[in-house]
Amino acid sequence: MELHLHGSRAVVRAVLDLLATFAGARPALAGEFTRRALENDRMDLTQVEGLADLIEAETELQRQQAQRVLSGELSLRVQDWRRRLIEAGALIEATLDFADEEVPVDVLPDVLGHIDAGISALTRELEGYGVSERIRDGFEVAILGAPNAGKSTLLNAIARRQVALTSEIAGTTRDVIEVRTDLSGLPVTFLDTAGLRDTADPLEAAGIDLARARALEADLRVVLTQRDDAPLPIELREGDIVKRGKSDIGEGDVSGLTGQGIDQLVNEIAGILRNRTASSSVAIRERHANAMRNSLSHLANARAAIDARSDDALIALHLRDATVALETMIGRVDIEDLLGDIFSRFCIGK
């Protein structure tokens, strides 16, 4: 039954009060319906995780990512990898359990093919995990530069509000100031940092150390300069955006004060980050990444065992472990899956 009510709080409250008088009626707990869906196999664990992210989604890209997981894309991928590993395991087991039957003698090339495909798929997915984690938690873009380069003014302009204190006095910003924004669907946190210079003031020095530390971890860095020939206060790395600030008082690319060049800068940042999201993974939790890392290390062991011409029973053991590690994401592995694959593939039986 579904009740459609006039929206006033008083009406809703009165109906809820009335419902509460019925025996056995109680408000649903948070997540209770989802839990039921999980328990009744209507959703698997990864889908529940996707749903949780969907509810939390703030930006369009977060919504899209969560939606993909909710729709079961991660489960599908895991099942696909799992199928491959089961196939590899079945090939090995066939030569072990049916040695006196007409099964292929040298299955190792095929097994290696499956293992390598698994290794590369998992590696790719794990690389993408960094990006999907960013989509979930937000990219960090650090604004760096010498003192008084106009960093805080630039941040305020991007945020379209006064978030950082600005002044003519170099060294105004001491702490790292963070602003969360939605950059055309991308969750981006801009970091305003202390101006980088040598200083005797221990408090300012601490702020500069913090700035450098955060700059190292940032996904993207915007370095503001004042004069083209001035030495940069930080070692540039590939991908850094270097802009000459304060264009309002001379030659320059951007000005937080007048807004000149801000849109272009924001578009440039959004463009770069959006490109990176193309490689995003459907793994969205540390749990998923851990399962994949585990599986990957067992696959590496399996490969090493083949290279070392180890006992086939050991190769089989590593393959089984790799499969079980994947399974922790969605379900369980079963010997019947392996046997089923063997019997459908080879004509076993004298």
Binding site: E39, D41, L96, D97, C347
Partner: protein, 626 residues
């Protein structure tokens, strides 16, 4: 419970096949007065299917039965006419000893073991009914001798439940050629409304060896150094022979394909499920249409017998078609069929109706073992018979049962699979079913199980002595290995593949390096030369997996803990919160006895397990369900 402390338990075993003889022998060794009831004394130990014992997974079972003091291993060594260690080139974990049998010699060896066993008598009779008193089995009703009182009975009646043989369109009721089914006993079992299923299996036509042109065929000799099935044997007793190999061809396949509609299996006459690993020739050709040839092993059935068992062409086609396709095969152009191949369909009792000792839950005092539980194979039957026989005695005495864990025996894996999961096709052992395959090897079955057999008093004095001597020598070998220090250079000189620079290593460390054999370690550590070669070989086998054993031990510990956490029979599943209705349904159908079994129920989730654990815990606290 019904306990007999002051006199010998009386145990009756019905059936003289591989399950029956092991059950009777085990129960007698365990101290019971045993009566083995069979239709014909001379069929005791008969091999109704292929003339071979052991193989992959199966060889492990034979060794385990042997380690428990059973008779199959020694009988097979007495009857063996061609011994091969399968997977010889692969690791020790998956090596399985196998031997071709002379049927007569094997049967004679089994019959001798039975007749020499104290407190075991054989009665030729037919069981027509069970005698039930106060809800538990009290005896058997025999057709001629009347009632036979017993404290427990073990039914090992194979395929007798509603057995039907199919040859083409012909159907003959019965469990084996020439034997009539026991109808009244079957009625009694059906009357108990046990869960049942239907299975099928098949045999090939038997050929007259004198009509085979052996000279054109590839032969397959036994191993030059035969590996025995029993820990107590050293060499084969019978003369050794070779088998031959031939192949089906396009013409064979055409004949079978043209006549598929006449096959009992394809005409719809058979409803039972057959094993995927033992397809009939019809199945092979229909399902693997792209294969243009299949291998056939021609296995002589004995030294004095002219019968040959063509392993690989079981069938339910009519006799005339059998003759045509057989004669299309190289070497068999003139072959005479002595007995036509047939398919057999039979009912089995869903083994989920049994407890972990193979006792029927619905009737205390009645045990089931062998093919009646949905398994296939002599070895699987023997292993169940052994466990049922021992446990029938222990239970009657009120002693704790012998339940082998998945972590210590293939027998444990099999019985757990059967009683927890049931079967969907005739159940056969595979090494891949054993999670702890690296530890559960055929070579160390005695190290795993003989201590339990000695504690129960079911192993002979001879076995006890052989085992204790082996243990002492292994211990000595391990001491030498751990105390010896071998320089990298000496190791390389001994032919061990190592980088030019490296540390000194103990013998144990050297053995765990891939590819280090017993021969190499003997060169590196001459002190080992004082030990018997088979002891050094055994140490080398242990070394292969040494690096993995710690980890597997931890996993085994976890599994044992789950196995040791019983789920109370009266736990009300309906009142366990957080279980889906589907899962509750499955739990009701496969009532798991312990936590380990619950984890293997299809669709079981970690959340579901937690819910069960939680319910068990809160029940402990409050004394109520839910």
């Amino acid at each position: 419970m019904f306990h007999v402390k002051h006199r010998r338990p009386k145990i009756a075993v019905v059936g003289g096949g591989h399950a029956g003889v092991e059950a009777a022998s085990a129960a007698a060794r365990a101290g019971a007065d045993v009566t083995l009831v069979t239709l014909r004394r001379d069929t005791i130990g008969a091999m109704s299917c292929n003339p071979a014992i052991g193989g992959l997974g199966k060889g492990h079972l034979v060794r385990e039965v042997d380690a428990l003091g059973g008779i199959m291993g020694e009988a097979a060594d007495a009857g063996g006419i061609q011994f091969r260690l399968l997977n010889r080139r692969k690791g020790p974990a998956v090596q399985g000893p196998r031997a071709q049998m002379d049927r007569q010699l094997y049967r004679a060896a089994v019959q001798q073991a039975i007749s020499e066993q104290e407190n075991l008598q054989v009665v030729e009779d037919q069981v027509v009914d069970l005698v039930v008193l106060n809800g538990r089995l009290a005896g058997l009703r025999l057709e001629r001798a009347g009632d036979l009182a017993c404290d427990a009975a073990i039914l090992t009646t194979g395929t007798f439940l509603n057995g039907v043989m199919h040859i083409g369109e012909r159907q003959i009721p019965g469990g084996r050629v020439g034997e009539s089914p026991s109808v009244p006993l079957a009625h009694r079992l059906y009357g108990m409304s046990l869960p049942m299923g239907r299975l099928k299996t098949g045999t090939p036509p038997r050929l007259d060896g004198r009509t085979i042109n052996w000279s054109v065929l590839e032969t397959q000799p036994g191993d030059p150094e035969p590996v025995m099935l029993s820990f107590l044997s050293n060499t084969p007793k019978a003369r050794q022979i070779s088998c031959a190999i031939t192949h089906t061809n396009a013409q064979t396949h055409d004949i079978v394909r043209e006549n598929l509609d006449k096959s009992a299996m394809y005409s719809g006459n058979i409803s039972g499920v057959g094993p995927r690993y033992c397809p009939s020739i019809e199945d092979k050709i229909a399902r693997f249409a792209d294969k243009d040839s299949h291998q056939i092993f021609l296995e002589p059935e004995g030294l004095e017998s002219d019968l040959v068992y063509p392993n690989g062409i079981s069938t339910s086609l009519p006799e005339d078609v059998q003759e045509r396709y057989v004669r299309s095969i190289a070497g068999l152009e003139q072959a005479e069929i002595v007995q036509a191949g047939y398919a057999i369909e039979y009912d089995y009792v869903d083994p989920r109706a049994l407890d972990s000792t193979l006792q029927l839950q619905a009737l205390n005092g009645l045990w089931l073992a062998g093919q009646i539980n949905g398994t296939t194979g002599y070895e699987e039957a023997a292993a169940q018979g052994c466990i049922a026989g021992i446990n029938a005695v222990l239970t009657v005495r009120g002693d704790p049962p012998l339940i082998l864990s998945r972590t210590e025996a293939y027998i444990g894996v099999m019985i757990d699979d059967l009683t927890a999961r049931g079967v969907s096709e005739p159940y056969r052992m595979f090494t891949s079913r054993a999670e702890f395959r690296l530890q559960l090897r055929a070579d160390n079955a005695d190290q795993r199980l003989t201590p339990a057999a000695l504690a129960l008093g079911i192993a002979s004095r001879r076995r006890a002595q052989a085992f204790e001597s082996k243990l002492a020598h292994l211990e000595e070998g391990r001491r030498i290995l751990s105390e010896s220090v071998v320089s990298n250079k000496d190791a390389i000189n001994a032919g061990i593949n190592l980088a030019a620079d490296g540390p000194h290593r103990s013998g144990a460390e050297l053995l765990s390096i891939a590819g280090v054999s017993a021969e190499r370690i003997l060169v590196a550590i001459p002190a080992l030369g004082d030990l018997a070669p088979e002891i050094v070989t055994q140490l080398a086998r242990e070394g292969v997996y040494a690096n993995y054993l710690d980890r597997q031990d931890r996993e085994a510990e976890r599994l044992r803990k789950d196995e040791a956490t019983p789920i109370p029979n009266d736990l009300d599943l309906d009142r366990v919160h957080g279980l889906s209705s589907e899962l509750k349904e499955k739990l009701r159908g496969n009532r798991p006895g312990n936590l380990a079994q619950a984890t293997k129920i299809e669709g079981m989730t970690p959340a579901g397990l937690n819910a069960i654990l939680l319910a068990m815990r809160s029940r402990k606290k409050t004394g109520t369900d839910g």
